[in-house]
């Protein structure tokens, strides 16, 4: 990605006489304007806010607190500590629940779709369809399905089993949120895997099967190694997407039961927007951002390196 940028521009002979032309700046200006306003500036402004007790409606009551908003995140006696770490561990728990199936099942689906058979296009269309819906449609739908009097429990009861309090109990709430998330987003990962599968040269498989490798051996000896870089990519975006979980629990459980599915994004939303404490919320988001960056870095370091071989 960081490769040296190859530039061309008008051929040297026709380059404007002035050393610096204004034209390239005109090209980048529209985007740059927004980039500065909504990505560069807020980066620094966010850090600035995090150093104050910052109530956006009380400019008169906005004392500088230095690093206290950060320190509070590590101080068990602070007001923020319990709820913040609870939310952070909830987000972590969701990642444990969701990332493996979101990657594993997506790969399975991609393999299923990569074979040659009648109706393959239809199945691909079906698997991807939920991804086009909004998070609210997906969440409201599964919220209804997992109601205590909903279809899942009614089906379970028809088989003589005890109904489960999906949304109101642990781990039922995570199961429901995870299934909703898989249903909603797995099509994305599947399509990416499928594309990568199709780029694996057919000749590799032909050679392998001439050597007597069966389907499983082919999968682990050819498919998986060839997919490594895509796997890392999918793993990374899935980790990040899972870490940003908000809409599903917001709608399906409201963060309950007993704050058990309140995610860290929800917590920041609550602290900054509902409690109006933007200083602490900004500190939380910066802390979470650092965690996510480290995660991405580690991910590439551990899984990405082997790709070189």
């Amino acid at each position: 990605m960081t490769a040296k940028i190859e530039s061309l521009g008008p051929p040297a002979s026709r380059r404007p006489r002035k050393k610096v032309s204004i034209i390239p700046y005109l090209f980048v200006a529209p985007h740059l304007l927004f980039f500065v306003a909504f990505l560069a500036w807020p980066f620094f402004y966010g850090i600035y806010i995090s150093l104050f007790r910052f109530d956006f409606l009380r400019p008169d009551n906005r004392p500088f607190v230095g690093l206290r908003n950060y320190a509070n995140l590590f101080n068990p006696e602070s007001v923020q500590f319990d709820k913040f770490w609870n939310a952070l561990s909830n987000t972590g728990e969701f990642m444990l629940w969701s990332v493996a199936p979101l990657v594993g099942i997506a790969l399975l689906l991609a393999v299923l779709l990569n074979r040659n058979y009648r109706g393959r296009g239809v199945f691909r269309t079906i698997f991807f369809a939920p991804y086009t819906l909004s998070v609210t449609v997906a969440s409201v739908l599964w919220w209804w399905i997992f109601q205590q009097t909903g279809i899942v429990n009614q089906t379970i009861q028809a088989f003589g089993l005890k109904p489960v309090n999906w949304l109101g109990d642990m781990p039922g709430a995570w199961v429901a949120i995870t299934i909703c998330t898989i249903w909603w987003t797995i099509g994305f990962n599947t399509v990416i895997f499928l594309t990568a599968l199709q780029e694996i040269p057919k000749s590799l498989y032909e050679a392998a099967s001439l050597d007597g490798a069966d389907s499983w051996q082919q999968f682990f000896l050819i498919t998986v190694p060839m997919l490594r870089s895509v796997l890392v990519f999918v793993l990374t975006i899935t980790l990040i997407a899972s870490a940003n979980l908000f809409g599903q629990p917001y709608i399906m459980t409201g963060g309950g039961p007993a704050d058990g599915t309140q995610t860290v994004i929800h917590r920041i939303f609550f602290e900054g927007m509902l409690r109006g404490q933007m200083g602490t919320a900004a500190a939380m988001s910066i802390f979470v951002a650092v965690l996510l960056l480290s995660l991405t870095y580690l991910n590439f370091k551990f899984f990405g390196q082997t790709e070189e071989r």
Binding site: L39, P42, F128, S134, M278
Partner: protein, 291 residues
């Protein structure tokens, strides 16, 4: 660029030809189970939406007395301007997509082909933000939007997204892959940079522009947290995702109406998807290649 339609018969190997009929059936059963997992929830939404009040809590998959009353009450309820929500979502996603396409292809071209002091620095900065989680920017951007007086407005919803760098990278990547000869020929003919871009480069870029457009549109169409924060001062101004969350708050226990509402919001999208699914899936697959 590989397309999914032209899949090589990867698995058509010796091993498979000898495959028993049983395995074949098993394969289809697995596929069918997955298909059910993706389809049944949508079917259940449809079924519930057509059920009268008395049947909502019954597990029957065919309504005994199918009714349109859920839809009628959704459309007759003045406090649920579903049509407005749909149009708002459409307007917001369309505006967002158009502006992104314009500014990102301009910027992408400059970073790919033009030479200017500060280019590497700017590009490096953008690269850095690509890996930064969006949550960092939520609160400061909210304050900026509030200060600009954009709370509750369309520009408040879309403007922060214009800063995104994915599209710039995407377009730059594409422009770098274009052969330079055409542009050089245009310069020799005396065309300006602008003219070359407009009449030589852009006509060659239909594919990536459509792809970026679809991805951008979908992102905006499904966005929830930011519009939830920014919109809401006026029920008429909500987007579909936020509107449905409102609907859930209001019809928490009127499951039939809630599902009718969800269905109304779902059907247009699924129709669009059915028409454009080839492009949509191809677009998604291209984001993977870029990664």
């Amino acid at each position: 660029m590989t397309t999914i339609q032209t899949t090589p018969d990867v698995e058509e190997t010796e091993a498979q030809i000898g495959e028993s009929r049983l395995a074949q059936i098993g394969f289809y059963v697995v596929l069918a189970l997955f298909a059910m997992f993706f389809l049944l929830p949508i079917l259940w939404m449809v079924v519930t939406a057509f059920k009268p009040f008395e049947e909502w809590l019954n597990p029957n998959w065919i309504p005994v007395n199918p009714t349109l009353e859920n839809f009628q009450s959704i459309f007759n309820d003045k406090s649920l301007p579903v049509v407005n929500w749909f149009l708002n979502s459409l307007l917001i996603a369309a505006l967002f997509t158009i502006v992104i396409l314009v500014i990102d292809s301009l910027a992408g071209y400059a970073y790919a082909r033009l030479e200017f002091p500060g280019k590497d620095l700017l590009f490096g900065l953008m690269l850095a933000t690509l890996v930064m989680p969006g949550i960092m920017f939520l609160i400061p951007n909210y304050l900026t939007v509030a200060r600009l007086g954009w709370i509750g407005t369309i520009q408040g919803v879309i403007a922060p997204g214009f800063a995104g760098v994915f599209g710039v990278f995407f377009m730059r990547q594409f422009f770098q892959g274009l052969p330079r000869e055409l542009e050089e020929a245009a310069y020799i003919d005396g065309a300006s940079v602008w003219r070359t871009f407009i009449s030589v480069v852009l006509p060659l870029s239909k594919g990536p522009i459509i792809t970026l457009g679809i991805i951008t549109f979908l992102t905006s169409w499904n966005d929830f947290l930011w519009p939830l924060l920014i919109l809401g001062g006026d029920r008429n101004a909500l987007t579909l995702p936020v509107g449905l969350a409102t609907l859930q708050g209001q019809y928490t226990f009127d499951y039939g109406k809630l599902m009718a509402g969800a269905l109304v919001l779902t059907v247009p999208v699924l129709i669009l998807y059915a028409i454009f699914q080839r492009y949509i899936i191809r677009s998604i697959s291209m984001t993977g290649i870029k990664g």
